[in-house]
Amino acid sequence: MSTLLPPKFGPYGGRFVPETLMPALIELEQAFVDAQKDKVFRNEFEGLLASFVGRPTPLTYAKRLSEKLGGAQIYLKREDLAHTGAHKINNALGQALLVKRMGKKRVVAETGAGQHGVASATAAALLGLECVVYMGSVDIARQEPNVFRMKLLGAEVRPVESGTKTLKDAINEAIRDWVTNVRDTHYLLGSALGPHPYPTIVREFQSVIGIEAREQMLRDAGRLPDTVIACVGGGSNAIGVFSGFVDDEQVELIGVEAGGSGIASGKHAARFGDASKARVGVIHGTRTYVLQDEDGQIAETHSVSAGLDYAAVGPEHAMMRDNERAFYTSATDVEALDAFQTLCHTEGIIPALESSHAVAEVIKRAPTMKKDQVILVNLSGRGDKDLNTVIKELGTNL
């Protein structure tokens, strides 16, 4: 029972799912491999990325932020300008096209911040698929605008009340729906997570970020960046931008996890940052670093940004961390909120709270670098969806 594509990233990844789903994963892998070789499929995908998503997304030189920080020159990859407001649409469209190819009619998706739910609902509307989105009731409350958007786009949003009522539980429910309806339903997984072949498929559909950014850096800055920074929830925007530079050994790759209220508080989602709670385990079909208690029960996580609030990290990141091709750090809620405001004021860009974690790392790192050095930061999404949260968090400070 061999696979067409490597199912593991070193010791991580794999397919830890009930037997009922194994045939669907095998079918998906086959469909993906065939599609990648099919010019018609690639043309259709690339065509939609251009005409519907608005790709290539721009690369913006952040002049005032660079000056303010007084160190490295900072460039922003503007996934916030992709249709629907985040990188999630790249993967959602790619998978939705695969769904058509497999002859399935219905997709289920999980969502945390609502961005992947919106992207899935959008792709489903565009391609005429039925779409059900599972979302934890805690996330529904903090990302309300996206709930309305999904509904307007014709998706059914099903609140999840089990467990911690956040992304982890939304994934559980999406998988349960998928197990039940697997013959005509595709699970449109939104991050570089889950059982093989999802981490590979999602990386490939998000690799457009890195491919474009590399070309744009060479064009605009005349050189590759010294450092590439991205936030890491499940890891899809990070793996997408990293993949463009992974073969350029001199380029340093930095992933930023959610530090929540601080690592010491225990209230965070820093899978790589908290050795007391993160161990290699298996959750949602993949073997990777997982925040858990001593008994192997998955831990509650916390982040101001719903999209980073998850107990596990994509398996390819686990491998890249072990082999030190990438380095991982975290930003706290407070640091992210500060970075959010800084970017608003200096560049006229309202970033998603997820992306603000990457910006927070830029703020820490740029001043320590020389003026002729270059940082590329992936601005994974825009912050309109977060306004309620930000107003609440900042109170009268706004």
């Binding site: 029972m1 199912p7 794999g14 397919r15 830890f16 799912v17 009930p18 037997e19 009922t20 789903l21 194994m22 045939p23 669907a24 089990s162 467990g163 982890k168 539980d169 559980n172 998988i175 349960r176 197990v179 039940t180 309806n181 697997v182 013959r183 161990r279 290699v280 385990g281 298996v282 959750i283 949602h284 079909g285 997982v290 858990q292 001593e294 008994d295 192997g296 029960q297 998955i298």
Partner: protein
């Protein structure tokens, strides 16, 4: 003859599932003892996990309560030893998700389970592709393989070829939980499995009443009853008495089929 083979001497067998720690540890041990002494031929003893993605609402809720009550893998294994002390002689199969076993330490988990008196393992999120490490450590205790209605013939054949103990056939595409009726295709599904294996075939997921158990018992070597067992016993004021009655009813429904 090992305990599992012995249990299959008179088929079809009755195999209830019950999670340790629900509604609390002491009661769950009493319930399992009672099931064992009143007609269960084999018991699937549940080890709880925070994210049981193959389970429907009844088992989700029960295992959640078990966790809130403080159940752990260690306590679960001690409970198996306690059940053996109380003279439970039927096979006890540990059923749980992979992560808590990994966290305990896989080798130690299997060793301690063996010492406690467990007879095998069912791990729903460990398909054969990922079971290598477990299989290499498990020795003569079976890691029960699962088949599903979606399994194509070639998979059935390769999985069934290596089956030990018995095959756990999932009767429906879906999560655990009682259904109002037995799926029409079950007869064909069992026949398809039997084409590929002479192993014992036990059917689970969706069986809720003694009548349904009988229907399935006509076709299969064993009938697995999970959610209905958990719900009936868990919602009773007197769980131990409910367990006694539950086991007796299913036992008598299957009794006339036994041979």
């Amino acid at each position: 003859m090992n305990r599992i083979e012995n249990a299959f001497k008179n088929k079809p067998i009755f195999m209830p599932y019950f999670p340790l720690g629900y509604p609390n540890l002491d009661t769950s041990i009493d319930v399992i003892e009672t099931l064992a002494k009143n007609g269960a031929d084999l018991i699937e003893v549940g080890i709880s996990f925070s994210d049981p993605l193959a389970d429907g609402p009844v088992i989700q809720k029960a295992t959640q309560i078990a966790l809130e009550q403080g159940i752990t893998v260690k306590k679960s294994l001690a409970a198996i030893a306690e059940l053996r002390n109380r003279g439970v002689t039927i096979p006890l199969i540990l059923m749980g998700y992979f992560n808590p076993m990994l966290a305990y330490g896989l080798e130690k988990f299997i060793q301690d389970a063996k010492e406690a008196g467990a007879d095998g393992f069912i791990v729903p999120d460990l398909p054969p592709e990922e079971a290598g490490e477990f299989q290499s450590l498990v020795g003569d205790l079976p890691l029960i393989q699962m088949l599903a209605p979606t399994s194509p013939n070639e998979r059935m054949e390769s999985i069934a070829r290596n089956a030990k103990g018995f095959i756990y056939l999932v009767s429906v595409t879906g999560v655990t939980g009682a259904r109002t009726s037995i799926s029409d295709g079950l007869g064909d599904l069992i026949a398809r499995v039997r084409e590929h294996t002479s192993a014992k075939v036990c059917v689970g997921f969706g069986i809720g009443t003694p009548e349904q158990a009988k229907q399935v018992g006509l076709l299969a070597d064993g009938v697995i009853v999970g959610s209905a067992c958990v719900k009936t016993i868990g919602s009773s004021e007197k769980p131990v008495e409910a367990a006694k009655q539950f086991a007796a009813e299913f036992r008598s429904a299957l009794q006339e089929l036994k041979k």
